[in-house]
């Protein structure tokens, strides 16, 4: 007899440890009436669907889901995990993403039943530990950013940005002035302009100058009383510190605008300098970058937003508050903009961040920034001569180099360098961002990579540059799949198994 259904328990086809075939989808592994589920005996009358719900509401046919055994379920997803690179497998110098190693202690903290099994509607009297944690985390984040109050609701950075823009809007409206514009630098991350639009503002872009910093003259020309504020990240996305930040702050405040700090690059300045001290009014943090919340293949993260005193009354609510020494509760600010999440934000991610904060402490956080900046400068210096370095000056936690010469001389693009690096056993840097750098390769080693790792990474990048040739277009060769046809995916869209 022949067997047509692929076999999950069978060929370890997709585990790169054996063979090179694709892993079938869970749908191909499905066999009618096979089951993995078990349920406890409820001891209830076995009412039928018809007994429970009026017939007109009942589905004619059940929704078809994969029918597999627990064994096949585990084999399938374990194999898929073997087709996935991750920080735990090696370096991940993805610029702007701060792919640092996440201490395992945080996983254990976030697995405590006392956190995971608490219902979000449970009253404060039953969730004192949770609220105390949120208050303590919030206080620490205010200290780290130099701000006055914080909301932990935003589930990611982009949500934090929008929260900040809505706070800006609420602030100006309360002062009865309707402003229409928000300024961002041309090096800004895409979420910034996208959030500006959602915030109901119009994006005004200021160019960077030859230093890679905000062009002050250009800024001056766009600043007027129609400007609600400016969004900056400092260090900026070139990894460069905006040296004129104090002056910029003064200029923006001068016209009644507010300064928004995109905290994606906070890792560079922990314990060294603070957005609040630079003059920022609103700050979002990416706890999934700076505070070791693992990225989970794309999320979840957490994007708390901290603000100066004058914006505190507008924060989303409810806010966790300390009522007295050992009682905690919730309070909604008088002029709150409302809610940015169905509940209290990505709570378990906040647990991880708090554990990370306690483990590092003030001394550890400063050391994190120092090592992150040391590593990034070391890499830039090592790559000098092999890659173009458009802004070859002391950088902070990341550096941006360019493959434009490689492209001119060998037709090898940033994307080719990235794919070649995969072959060499490293994850690739961020490519083609920031947009103002041609053939950009944005490298953020993070502080958790050792000198040996940096050396190996630099050696690989240099070897790639030296050996650059048309053959690089065929890279990567030793990965679970070869170069993927992205254009084809968009041309004939197949977004579900059923669409094939």
């Amino acid at each position: 007899m022949t067997t047509t259904t692929p076999a999950a328990g069978g060929k370890a086809s997709s585990a790169p440890i054996m063979g090179r075939d694709a892993e079938p989808t869970i749908f191909e592994l499905s066999v009618p009436d096979r089951t993995a589920w078990t349920f406890r005996d409820q001891g209830l009358p076995e009412w039928s669907a018809e007994d429970l719900v009026p017939a007109e509401h009942l589905a004619e046919a059940p929704v078809a889901l994969p029918e597999v055994s627990e064994r096949d379920l585990v084999a399938h997803y374990t194999r898929l995990s073997h087709r996935q690179y991750s920080v735990d497998l090696g370096a991940y110098p993805l610029g702007s993403c701060t792919m640092k190693y996440n201490p395992k202690l945080c996983d254990d903290a976030a697995s405590l039943a006392g956190f995971t099994n608490v219902h979000p509607t449970a009253p404060a009297s039953m969730t004192q530990g949770w609220i105390e944690l949120l208050v303590a985390l919030g206080d620490a984040l205010c200290e780290v950013t130099g701000m006055h109050a914080v909301t932990l609701q935003p589930p990611a950075g982009a949500a934090g940005e929008l929260t900040g823009l809505l706070l800006m809007r609420a602030f100006h409206e309360a002062n009865g002035d309707a402003r229409r514009k928000v300024i961002i630098p041309d090096s800004a991350h895409g979420t910034n302009p996208a959030s500006v639009t959602l915030g109901g503002y119009e994006t005004v872009t200021v160019p960077s100058d030859e230093r890679g910093l905000v062009d002050l003259d250009a800024l001056r020309t766009v600043l007027d009383t129609d400007v609600a504020g400016i969004m900056l990240t400092n260090p900026n996305t070139l990894g460069l510190f905006e040296e004129d930040i104090a002056e910029i702050a003064a200029m923006v405040h001068e016209v009644g605008g507010l300064l928004y700090y995109d905290g994606a690059n906070l890792n560079a300045i922990l314990g060294v300098t603070r957005p609040g001290d630079m003059g920022f009014d609103i700050v979002h943090m990416n706890l999934h970058k700076t505070f070791a919340v693992p990225h989970g293949g794309g999320g979840p993260g957490a994007g708390p937003v901290a603000v100066s005193e004058r914006l505190a009354d507008y924060l989303p609510g409810p806010l966790p508050v300390r009522i007295d020494d050992d009682t905690f509760g919730w309070a909604t600010p008088p002029a709150s903009i409302g809610r940015m999440h169905g509940w209290h934000g990505n709570a378990l991610a906040l647990v991880r961040a708090y554990a990370y904060l306690l483990a590092n402490g003030s001394d550890g956080l400063r050391h994190v920034a120092e090592a992150a900046v040391l590593n990034a400068n070391w890499i830039r210096t090592r790559l000098r001569g092999s890659y173009d370095i458009p802004f070859d000056r002391p950088n902070m936690h990341e550096c941006v180099v360019s493959a434009s010469t490689l492209r001119k001389e060998h037709g090898v693009r940033a994307a080719d360098v990235a794919k070649r690096l995969l072959e060499e056993g490293f994850h690739a840097p961020t490519v083609y961002f920031p947009l103002i750098v041609d053939e950009a390769l944005m490298i953020e080693p993070t502080e958790t990579e050792s000198l040996q790792t940096l050396g190996a990474l630099a050696d690989a990048l240099i070897a790639i540059a030296e050996g650059a040739s048309a053959a690089d277009h065929d890279a990567p060769r030793l990965t679970p799949v070869g170069r993927v046809d992205e254009a084809r995916a968009a041309r004939h869209l197949i977004a579900t198994w059923d669409a094939r």
């Binding site: 989808t25 993995a36 589920w37 078990t38 349920f39 001891g43 009026p54 059940p62 929704v63 078809a64 889901l65 994969p66 627990e70 399938h76 374990t78 898929l80 087709r83 792919m99 190693y101 956190f115 995971t116 608490v118 449970a122 009297s125 105390e132 589930p155 990611a156 940005e161 809505l166 609420a170 895409g190 500006v196 060294v272 693992p294 990225h295 989970g296 293949g297 794309g298 999320g299 979840p300 903009i337 409302g338 999440h341 169905g342 509940w343 209290h344 990505n346 306690l358 590092n360 402490g361 120092e370 400068n377 995969l422 690739a428 961002f433 502080e447 993927v484 046809d485 977004a495 198994w497």
Partner: protein, 445 residues
């Protein structure tokens, strides 16, 4: 101290020398003196991982967690479903946990394929064509759906049923401060939405939004909402309970254009409300407006099946201020949990969860309504949750029931009037339900 910085002092010196620097401080020479933080951060010094875990355990122990000592009858959008060991242990493998968004598909086929499977599963549950690779949670998914509908119709008035979760409506209202969308709430009558027959003076709606089953647990008439939407050429947005797909007709089959929902019931613990999972699916015609990441199947150079994030031009990093949404980081790992849980359930298991939850809810409802002094808030048919009026404040009842070992439910307020929202899942047994009812009887005396 920086436990997680590998550098030895010797290496730091070596690296500084290589950079021609004399000290780590010099790395920050570019930071103006005036901005440097004097004296360091005013937070405690670092602690050992064991001291940290002790402190975390202390905080966790202070909470009343659901379990044998606090049997959960609360729902309101967060449900106490079974979490099989196989699903949890597989979903949290470190390759999934510590990867970034799959920007390099050649080394991210694992996450990409799970997301492709997830999109397929959610499309099936909703009865629509395409699902995205996750949004933050049910509330923000609802916002994204409205934004999509407004963009598609060019009309910014949105009719929102008061049967939609109050926190979700609050979130929609907050986002509307920026988008300027005009949200018009439509009241419930005996538990189900009363749709106005005409828009009256105001602009006709670009979207009609309801929850199915709704916040009070009542099963809305989606077909009627469809007719209302058609009346105004609006898109129909349905916020659904994915568990209901095990018994009830899918929103897609009832005419929804966009379906959103909260994915927590499949594979995610209560977690004090997060991280949860925003579900969103659309009809094929809206795929180019879909917010967030979308994974598509394609081929690699050697013609092998491969997956990649696609239709990227919708997204913020390319489209910038014209993007369909500002979302970047999403809830991928929770989507992985959801996909694996749905595969663990399979066709029959999904039906079992729905059926067993509905049975437990029915039994609880009968036992609770048999107590005199307690009346139903509405009489419309319910699926897995129901609301009651109590002779005393729900908050008081919840506090007292906790002493008996039960999380009684979620207190109601506002437009619903005072009351308690009660839910029971497949985890609830006859014994627990009896115990709950008799405790409740005592408590309200």
């Amino acid at each position: 101290m920086g436990h997680y910085v590998p550098h030895t002092d010797a290496e730091i010196d070596e690296m500084l020398r290589f950079l021609g620097l004399a000290s780590l401080d010099e790395l920050f020479a570019v930071v103006p003196e005036a901005l440097r933080l004097a004296g360091g951060l005013d937070i405690a010094q670092g602690a050992s991982e064991f001291d940290v875990l002790d402190e975390m355990a202390r905080l966790a122990a202070v909470n009343d967690a659901c379990g044998p000592d606090l049997v959960c009858f609360a729902g309101a959008g967060a449900y106490d479903h079974e979490l099989p060991s196989a699903v949890q242990r597989t979903a949290f493998r470190s390759e999934f946990v510590t990867a970034y968004t799959p920007y390099q598909p050649e080394v991210a086929q694992g996450v990409l394929q799970v997301l492709f499977e997830y999109q397929t599963l959610i499309a099936r549950l909703t009865g629509l064509d395409v699902a995205n690779a996750s949004l933050y949670d049910g509330a923000t998914a609802c916002v994204e759906a409205v934004n999509l509908a407004v963009a598609a119709t060019g009309r910014s008035t949105v009719w929102v049923s008061q049967g939609v979760h109050p926190n979700w409506r609050a979130t929609m209202a907050t986002y509307a401060r920026g988008t300027g969308h005009h949200l018009v709430e439509q009241p419930l009558l005996d538990g189900v939405t009363q749709w106005p027959t005409d828009a009256g003076e105001v602009e006709a709606p670009g979207a009609v939004v309801l929850q199915y089953p709704n916040f009070l647990g009542c099963i809305e008439d989606v077909a009627e909402a469809r007719r209302t939407a058609d009346l105004h050429g609006a898109l129909l947005v349905v916020a659904f309970d994915p568990v209901a797909a095990g018994m009830l007709r899918t929103p897609g089959s009832l005419g929804a254009d966009v379906v959103v929902g909260e994915g927590q019931p499949f594979g995610t613990p209560l977690s004090f409300g997060g991280p949860y999972l925003g579900l969103l699916a659309v009809r094929q015609e809206h795929v180019r407006r879909i917010p967030g990441r979308l994974v598509g199947e394609t081929l690699d150079v050697e013609g092998r099946r491969a997956y990649v994030t696609t239709l990227r031009t919708r997204e913020q990093d390319i489209r910038r201020e014209k993007a369909s949404s500002n979302i970047c980081t999403n809830q991928t790992l929770i989507a992985v949990c959801c996909a694996i849980q749905l595969s663990w359930l399979g066709t029959s298991g999904l039906r079992q969860v729905a059926l067993r939850s509905a049975r437990a809810t029915r039994a609880t409802r009968e036992a609770v309504l048999a107590i005199d002094g307690i009346d139903p808030v509405a009489n419309a048919p319910t699926f897995r949750e129901f609301a009651v009026r109590l002779p005393l404040p729900a908050e008081t009842v919840v506090e007292r029931m906790a002493e008996h070992g039960y999380l009684a439910g979620a207190p109601l307020a506002g437009e619903y009037g005072p009351g308690l929202l009660i839910a029971a899942t497949e985890r609830r047994t006859a014994a627990q339900i009896d115990g709950y009812a008799s405790a409740l009887e005592k408590v309200i005396r």
